[in-house]
Symmetry: C2
Subunit: 356 residues, 2 copies
């Protein structure tokens, strides 16, 4: 029996994960689901955002259903104890190097975008972000007395950006393979005009691309990509980039759709084990009010069924059910507009269950 | 007599700089203007994108009027000889650490934006980007055999992100002082939840902020800033950030206005010496056609008069003249729309001269 670790986390995490679990249960498949604390909640109960017991559960599971972590009340804690360290720790310990971040604009929600409808309607981009390398995890890093530079002898802080050839190769293969199932186009985003790391990135992605002659590859500098996403987002299909640039561009792309409350994500390792979470955060300002949108988490559960649990049909059923509730006109507050019916977190979950 | 180094560069650079020079001449002030090759043009004539003679001229000048550099035809050159190295070299050798990038949406050009008019009309953000530190210039950097990490022994490339306390202090002072002349608000953008460098950044900006009790300071993570710029750009006023994040966010913000052909920029050092250039690039695809928009360069000349040449009234005259030609309905192709008059690069320059 496949095992799912359920990590609700902080803020709206518990509410939205509860709905996704309800939807998973409605499928009447057999899973072993086990919950554990993570983030600020785990800090409160165990003194650490990623307790040993939670990490162990995650490592043993086939998939992790993750809510969200973080709350302003932990801002004053030392970095190692802050909620976000849980997600960084899970990525690192499980080797979750391949992050899939779709940016999709649902037909019924086009109006919610900041962009003019003709620019955003029908948007369907897949951003593939490398998630265990780059400046996020590169050593050495820290504070010291500056050995040289503009102010030798002054206090300074530093981090190391790094990518090795095999790290770039494996994420490039993921991107080209994903493009084969879509429209055979990959845009690799780099900053090779300035950074050694991204010159290697560009060289290696180009080399790997030669094994995929059916896929068109182009390269774009990150500053230009940030512009082109605003100017003409639909020109992109699969975008592959490093951890830091991917953090920025995937959030920018998500916000372009105007409905970040709808966007799931998946983070996979080489064994197909994966962590599935909504693209939005823990929204502590609306936690506990029963108004958060659970659809991103429900759609993350669908990705989980498809990528880690070998249940593509169940994934399709969830995705169709979500389409159905949107067509019915049900909307949580974040995507509500005139002529639609405003519902709460639980009603939305119930509607998806009913549609299944 | 104040000295201006005129560096037209590549692509549309020569055309747009010629119009800015024409406008400067129309002011009937006394300047010593001297031109020199830079970028690909300098590589062709001198074998290097930033020849000694050009650097010397720039160092001796009070201000540099810069066009743009870069062309795909130099993509195959080794990095040290590529056109962009000229701009990096000028920043480094002249210590141009403070980059001012206004993102302004002109009333008559609101329609050109990707964003819905109500979100963008009247936008007036000032992005202040640190320009001589961060991962752009941090040593060590290069290629090597990975000493550790995910694939020890593999080929890897690396760069170093660094900021020292005095580097952060001086750019923070610039931001707070700029905010005093605007609406007393600064947003500092960091990634302190992941990077040591930006934890120091946040700490130091907070400390400097205590010397400006009249200015409100808030902090935002770079991924969130990329989102909020799309969602509600008018919530920002002065934004201060590092070199890498500033590269991405200033371009994103510029593109949000839809009229990047209108946006000037200034890069200053501690002595008030500055480099002035349009925010857009060299656009080799339209070079030589006489259709490029010279207004960003003309407005850069206005910034130059104000910041480096002690001629604020002359700057005002240029800016009013640009407002006047917009009000007249004159538009280059990039900002043209129904009901306005399409003009070329030279006609636009002539119209600004006439308005002066
Ligand atoms: C919380 C933070 C460490 C994290 C990141 O920067 O990767 C988040 O922004 C994300 O994108 O998942
Ligand atoms: C050309 C390039 C090196 C440069 C940069 O990255 O700083 C450019 O993008 C800019 O913003 O001026």
């Amino acid at each position: 029996m496949k095992k799912i670790a359920v990590l609700p986390g902080d803020g709206i995490g518990p509410e939205i994960v509860a709905e996704a679990v309800k939807v998973l249960n409605a499928l009447e498949l057999e899973f072993d689901m086990e919950a554990a604390p993570v983030g600020g909640a785990a800090y409160e109960s165990h003194g650490h955002p990623l307790p040993e017991s939670t990490l162990k559960l995650a490592q043993e599971a086939d998939a992790i259903l993750f809510g969200a972590v973080g709350d302003w009340k932990y801002d004053k804690l030392e970095r190692a104890l802050r909620p976000e360290q849980a997600i960084l720790g899970l990525r690192k310990h499980l080797g979750l190097f391949a992050n899939f971040r779709p940016a999709i604009c649902y037909e019924q929600l086009t109006h919610a975008s900041s962009l003019k409808p003709e620019l955003i309607a029908g948007l369907d981009i897949l951003i593939i972000r490398e998630l265990t390398g780059d400046i996020y995890f590169g050593q050495p890093r820290g504070r010291r007395t500056a050995p040289d530079g503009h102010f030798p002898g002054a206090e300074e802080a530093f981090d190391t950006m790094r990518y090795s050839r095999p790290e770039i190769e494996r994420i490039a293969h993921i991107a080209f393979q994903a493009a084969r199932k879509r429209s055979q186009r990959v845009t690799s985003v780099d900053k090779s005009n300035v950074l050694e790391t991204f010159q290697l990135w560009k060289d290696v992605v180009t080399e790997v691309g030669q094994q995929y002659p059916d896929v068109a590859l182009d390269h774009m500098y990150v500053d230009n990509a940030a512009m082109q996403l605003v100017r003409a987002p639909k020109k992109f299909d699969v975008v592959v980039t490093g951890n830091m640039f991917g953090d920025i561009l995937s959030d920018e792309a998500a916000m372009l759709t105007g409905s970040i409350g709808m966007l799931p994500s998946a983070s996979l390792n080489e064994r197909g084990q994966g962590l599935y979470e909504p693209s939005h955060g823990s929204a502590p300002d609306i936690a506990g009010q029963g108004i958060a949108n659970p659809l991103a988490t429900i759609l993350s559960a669908a990705m989980m069924l498809r990528f880690s649990l070998d249940q593509p049909q169940a994934a399709d059923r969830i995705e169709s059910a979500v389409q159905h509730v949107l067509a019915q006109g049900l909307r949580t507050a974040d995507i509500h507009s005139d002529g639609t019916t405003k519902v709460g977190t639980r009603e939305m979950g119930d509607a998806v269950v009913a549609a299944i």
